[in-house]
Each structure stands twice: as structure tokens, then as C-alpha cells.
Amino acid sequence: MTDAASLRRTPLHGFHQQYGAHLVDVAGWEMPLHYGSILEEHKLVRRGAGLFDVSHMGRVMFTGSGARRFLERVLTRRISTMQPGQCRYALVCNEAGGVLDDVIVYRFEDYWMLVVNAANREKLLAHFEQVKAAENFEVKIDDITFKTAMLACQGPDVMQIIGHFTSEVPALQNYHFCQKNLMVIKFTISRTGYTGEDGVEVIMGAMTAPMAIRLLTSEGGSQAAKIKPAGLGARDTLRLEAAMPLYGHELDEQTNPLEAGLNFAVNLDKGAEPSGETSGGGGGPQIPRFIGQDALEKVAAQGVSKQLIGLQLDGKRTPRQGAAVSRDGRQLGVVTSGCLSPTLGYPIALAYVQPQAANVGDAVQVAVGNSVQDARIVKLPFYKRPRV
């Protein structure tokens, strides 16, 4: 039993209680697992619109003349090419190339922000301060997590509903954001999410969050009333169908981004001479090599020692993290996440296996409960939303 009194509460705690949330400890925060049924909330997001409180996620601001170079140093992905109003997924690695966290980078006009995993926030802040001090970066790092709240509105109906408040948001491209003032509340609204559906993530001041959530739900009129709350249980099954990695499952310090199939978020050409420099001061901004780049260059040259794959199982049983994946009695790897897919109706899992064993279509066996189920390797993601 966790001591509820020691858990942090988000600015939306009163809302969760009003809607009958089943609250659980998530990385030291008292968060809604569900408001009645994980499966119903999962379907709500696939078919309509669901509202998640994700205020437990860390929000960290970077300002100062060295902010850009600092972020290039700690992030695997190039961010100097980002325009104000853009978001980008990236990883923070240790020197060995192991993943410290996966993050979303926001570029504002004169500062940057990272949204980080709740469980990794304190570890990352310590890492950032250590790098800043050791390498003398001119950057100010501000943890604004407790001063702000963050909501995710996800589902095929979200853009139409938000269109009743503002026409600017439905016009946003994916992984872009805008800043809006609505009824005296200042929002940062990005077309991002962690469910595989269209939608937005919204950051606002902690004090204004309860008013904002009333605007978006039942008290905000008939259009907004279509957005109903969904808990973090559904968020997990939604992200798993979309094959999005979850830190502590697919990602950890013993796993590198290339093993996780996140090559798109790793720029191994950082630190190369900017092109056109010979013509006298031209070319792009200086981009330092990132922490972990040496190790990841070796991995890229030598090949990965494990690879993330998708599995589809026979039957109706749920494979769990840590379950053995084998073929003819020989273990090939382990499951990192699994569920009985609410959308697809069959069990799915993500697993790390030996790379030579990871061909789509291959038959394997997966341990579930006291038995073993037949499964086959399938393409990722398991679920892709229909594009109109």
C-alpha cells in the first residue's frame, strides 16, 4: 500500500474526484488510472475524444545564449533546424548510449522547453546541471512542472471540437504548436500525443487549469461535452497499439535508441564541420557532438545486439513485461509490454529479441501465465489511424 498522503497531486485533483477517478501512484503522483473502465476510455479515444491529465510529466525551460548548444549536447536529435512553433521527439542518452529519457522539445522564439517523463524528471535535472557545470554552458534551467498543468485531448473528434474555440489549432501541422489566449487563460497547444490518434497537448498555468478543464468538458457547452475524461490505463493500451515506447518498458539505461528502432531521432552527423565554412563565416550554427554519440556510432557500425519487435499472439491471454519469447524451447528474448488489444481484439506485445531472429512473419512462442502461446512477429505499429 502506498502512503497517499505523500503523493503529489496535480492541479486537476478536484476534477478527478468529481468524476470518480480510481487514483493510483504514478511516479510519486496521485493520478487517475481510470474513471470506471479502461476499455471504455480506450474506445472513447479511438472513436471520439478523450481528455487526459498528464500534469505529472516534467516541464523544463531552457533560456540563455547557450541554450541551443546545450540542448544539442544533451539530445540525440538535431534541434538547431527547428523553427519557433515546432516540436520534436528526441532522446537523452548517457555516455554509453543508454537512454536516460525520451522527451519532446518545444522551440519558442527566445527559449526552449522539454517535456520529460515524470519518473525521470529529477534524474534529468541532475544530469543537465552536471553537464552545464562541467562544460560551462550559458544556460538557465527552470523546472516549471509545479507551476503548470498539462492536458492531452486525443481522438478523431478533437480537432472539430477545438475548432469551436479557435480556428488556429485545427490548422496546425503535426508536431507544431501555438500560444493562445482564451478567456484570460494562456495556453501552449501542440498537435502532439501519445495515443496514435489526432489531437493536442495543452500546457497552462496551474491556477487556471481547473477553469480550463471546465471549458473543455461538460460545463463548456454541448460541443465540448463530447470530450470525456480518460485515465492513464487507457493511455498505456493506446500507446502500445500505436507501438510508442514507454520508459521503463521499451526504454531504459541498458537499452540504446538504435535497439529501440528510434534511428529517426538519432543524428550521428552532429559535430561535423558546418558546410560552407571555408567561404568565411557562412554555413549553419555550430552543433556539438551529443553525449552518447561515440557509443552509438560504434553500435551503428557493429550492429545492435537486440531489436524491438511486435508480436501478435493466438488466444485471448495478455503477455506481460518480462515474459520469455522463445522458439523450439530456446529463448530469443523478453516481452517489454503487452495487452489484449482493445481495438484489434487479439493480444499484442512489444519484445526485445536477438536481431537475427527478428523477421516479420516468423513464428515464436510467448509465456503467458502458466502456459505458452503461439505468436508471430508482425510489422509495427499494430494500429495506425485511418487518414482522411
Partner: protein, 129 residues
């Protein structure tokens, strides 16, 4: 916060209820267990009708979106019936865990064994409800 625990049956600390009914004993899981498990997705009884079980035996497994756990029997007896409706539609347990959501029907060797199990009040205290 838990719905009231029926007093017409006995409980194991592992959350299975045992209800005497017409010479038989019905076994299911408590509302507290359902709330901890969340949506039930799968129920399996590993034994067949007619087979013998002893107090403390695992007779199957139950799975939800969040967890997989074993099902335990608190009394000796012979399996008289398995609730096929629950095996086909595990969400019946979410809908009505003390009624339609029963899992096993047992012909007890000694119905007095029920007295060694927890009362509703003691179970609630044990379950932290």
C-alpha cells in the same frame, strides 16, 4: 469506497468469495479484487468438472488490462460446474462480481470448512477497504 461486501458468504484474503447455496458452494472474486484488477479480459479454470480440489489449491487464472493473478479455492470438494458464461464473457465479473460473475460451483466435502474463512467484516479489514 468499496461497495458493501455481502455477508451471506465467506472470503479468502486473496479475494475469492465462497457462498453456500443449496448444498453447493459458489466461488467468485470480490468487488475489491475487481477494482484492483480493472477490466477483466480473460478467465481460465485449469480443472475440469468432476475433479477434486483442496483448500489452498489454485483452480485457474484471471487476467485484466492491468494484471494476471491466480484463483484460489478455500474449501475441499469436487467441481460441479464451471460458469461458461464468464469464460465466454469475462466482463460479467466487472458487471456483477457477486452474482452473475461467479466462476466455480463446488460440491463441498465438509461445508463446515467455510467457518475457517474470513467473514465479510474481517475480509474488509484484511483487504484494507
Amino acid at each position: 469506497m468499496t461497495a458493501s461486501t455481502p455477508e451471506d458468504r465467506r472470503y479468502l484474503a486473496s479475494h475469492e468469495w465462497h457462498k453456500p447455496e443449496g448444498g453447493y458452494v459458489l466461488i467468485g472474486i470480490s468487488q475489491h479484487a475487481v477494482e484492483e484488477l480493472t477490466d477483466i479480459t480473460y478467465v481460465d479454470v485449469s480443472l475440469t468438472v468432476g475433479s477434486l480440489v483442496s483448500s489452498g489449491d489454485s483452480f485457474g487464472e484471471i487476467e485484466s488490462v492491468k494484471a494476471t493473478s491466480e484463483l484460489y479455492c478455500g474449501i475441499d470438494g469436487r467441481i460441479a460446474e464451471i460458469n461458461q458464461a464468464v469464460l465466454d464473457n469475462p466482463s460479467l465479473i466487472n458487471e456483477d462480481c457477486y452474482g452473475k460473475g461467479w466462476i466455480l460451483k463446488l460440491e463441498p466435502s465438509d461445508i463446515k470448512q467455510l467457518e475457517f474463512m474470513l467473514s465479510a467484516v474481517d475480509y474488509e479489514a484484511a483487504a484494507g477497504g
